[in-house]
């Protein structure tokens, strides 16, 4: 008994001290942000904080007790965003290999389901590309959206006769017209004008959208609303599911997986697909360069995503809920977002609460879940330190 207790403590401590780095980094960031008002930018300050706090990690171990992995059997269900699904499928086997007492089921259902399942308690962790709406937080005051990684959304196409390695230039306004049925052919002057030097074959455009309630739809329609406020914004707006204009041939697909497969078999298609499906779209579907607010056309490269994320780092509120679409960074890719885990503050038992906290803390930790090796597989970027501190703060509320 004593032996077992001791070895458990050792286990705790090993994990805890590593997690401490994350959490203390977060706390230090807040401190840095408050105290060093003279520093040029919070990003710089937080970078500094991350590097300096690792050493002093041991100081606030007591506040981390709650993040230690449970030793009793924990059974968790994660459901929601199909964009996060590949990420969880990397994380969960690694985590459960190390902590065999955890049973975690992942499911790709859509952000809408992620939010609703966390709200009604059918799943402990909901994954969503969209933050919670006012009505959701009013209906479920216990619900939190905890940022966990940075993701981006690609705009893909399949044009017969155009190499998939040609990255067409598109603006949000043009894409909006395509989805409204106002531009129906790929060689429409509005598209060719953006792409001088590229011969675009004549082919009917088939817009694909998601059939399920989807955070991807939210991100995509936010871009269309921001770039075409009088058109898309006035008539349709942004939401996890919207009333798609009636375009002949328009197809609804279930999940990002359905979007990729659907676009592959539908000549002339255009689709919005999460970056985590990059390895499935590469070489098969074309990937568009999207015009950002400064007028530059960008691909969702790690650098462009990181640049865009950095421009929002300081404005992330304590609730975590913020749109990162169409931001100010001149070299940033305009469709990026925080991926959220939707968790209820009140869990059915302390064991479950501890299980969720420790798993998510593990995911956030750049030594465990958020390693560049893991994230690069799905094209994600780690949270900026300021966002980590927001996440850690939210995590601490789970009980």
């Amino acid at each position: 008994m004593v032996e077992r207790g001791r070895s458990e403590t050792r286990m705790y401590r090993a994990f805890g001290s590593k997690l401490a780095a994350v959490s203390v980094a977060g706390i230090a960031v807040i401190a840095a942000a408050c105290s060093s008002s003279k520093s040029p930018s919070t990003t710089a300050a937080s970078k500094q904080a991350t590097t300096t706090t690792a050493a002093s990690a041991a100081t606030s171990l007591s506040s981390l007790e709650s993040y230690l992995p449970s030793t009793s059997k924990v059974s968790l269900t994660e459901t929601g965003s199909s964009l996060m699904y590949p990420m969880f499928n990397i994380w969960v086997p690694q985590f459960t290999k190390q902590w065999g007492n955890y049973q975690i089921t992942t499911a790709s259902t859509g952000s809408g389901t992620g939010i609703s399942s966390a709200a009604n308690g059918t799943a402990q962790i909901g994954a969503s590309d969209a933050y919670l709406s006012t009505s959701q937080t009013t209906a479920n005051p216990g619900l939190m959206d905890i940022p966990i990684v940075i993701s981006a959304q690609m705009v893909n196409y399949n044009i017969p006769g155009l190499s998939s390695s040609t990255n067409l230039k598109l603006t949000g306004a043009v894409v909006s017209k395509i989805y409204q049925g106002k531009i129906t052919n790929w060689n429409d002057p509005a598209i060719t004008a953006l792409n001088p030097g590229v011969t675009i074959p004549s082919h009917v455009i088939v817009p694909l959208h998601r059939s399920d309630g989807s955070g991807d739809t939210f991100l995509f329609t936010t871009l269309l609303t921001d770039t075409d406020p009088s058109g898309w914004g006035a008539s349709i707006g942004e939401n996890t599911s919207v009333t798609w204009p009636n375009v002949p041939g328009a197809l609804a697909e279930n999940g990002n997986g359905g979007m990729v497969s659907g676009c592959k078999v539908t000549p002339g298609c255009i689709a919005y697909i999460g970056i985590s499906y990059l390895s499935q779209t590469q070489g098969v579907l074309g990937e568009a360069q999207i015009q950002n607010k400064s007028g530059n056309f960008e691909l969702p490269t790690p650098a462009a995503i990181a640049a865009e994320a950095a421009s929002f780092a300081s404005s992330t509120p304590a609730s975590g809920a913020i749109s990162l679409i169409y931001g100010p960074a001149s070299d940033g890719y305009p469709i990026i977002n925080y991926e959220y885990t939707i968790v209820n503050k009140q869990q059915s038992s302390a064991t479950v609460a501890q299980g969720i906290k420790s798993f998510l803390a593990w995911c956030l930790d750049s030594r465990y879940g958020a390693t560049s090796a893991n994230l690069s597989q799905v094209g994600f970027q780690p949270l900026p330190p300021s966002a980590i501190s927001v996440a850690v703060n939210l995590l601490s509320k789970i009980g």
Partner: protein
Amino acid sequence: MTLVAATPHEKGVNRARTAGDTIMWLVCGLALAALVLPIIWIIGQVIARAIPHFRWSFLTQPTIGNGGGLSQAVLGTLVLMAMVGVIAGVTGVGAGIYLAEYARRRSAILLRGATEVLAGVPSIIVGYVGFTALAIGLKWKFSIWAAAIALTAIVIPYIAKTTELALRGVPGSFREGAEALGMRDILILRRISLRAASSGIITGLIMALAISVGETAPLLYTAFWSVHNPTFGLHNSPVGYLTYPIWTFYNYPVKSATYLATESAFFLVILVGALIIASRLVSRRLSRYMPLGQG
């Protein structure tokens, strides 16, 4: 055929009439082919897609994310089938016995009507109600029992109907003979009626199980999905089952995921095929209790 020599005009008419026969049998033959062809096509496709990627580890390994095997789903499907077999079997056969043997005319009309209406309720409605009432309303969350109850609601009408029809098919002379010999009602039921009807009842029961293992819509919202072996808690006990990977992974752009879908379809076809064969064997074995032509 004609006794009197036919005039040329009559010959023409006769030719037209026999041609009508040929055309009709041709059309009917084509119809039969159109009925059989999709079966071969569907099952052929399922097998053709599954065999090249088949590994035994699909049966021994659980699902890991969108890869791995299907062992927990196979087990979940079998467990759900067993639970439905017991719950729906007892209830459905009981209901069928009552309808055939005891129900008065008016109550029989009511009960039979309700059974038929329930059979017509689309399975997704059962899923909706199972989710809102059991998973959310009673706070069971995703639960193996909610799943079993939803499936039971779907197959009870089928079992009740087949049981009732089988019992009604028992010749009245069987009962009358037994009654004349002074057998008690319960014994007549057990030893005569049920035995004579057993072929029909068990066949119906097995077919009901075949239907239940193929359900998806009611399970999505009650059993949900799990990568772990089934547990039997009332609360929070999601189950994996074989129709889920087909619906979820068939168009997932990762090979390991589409394999899960195609292998699930393969296992389901084997399971359903085995059930149909079992029902045929049972009906052949047990139909000896019935007079000729009734099995």
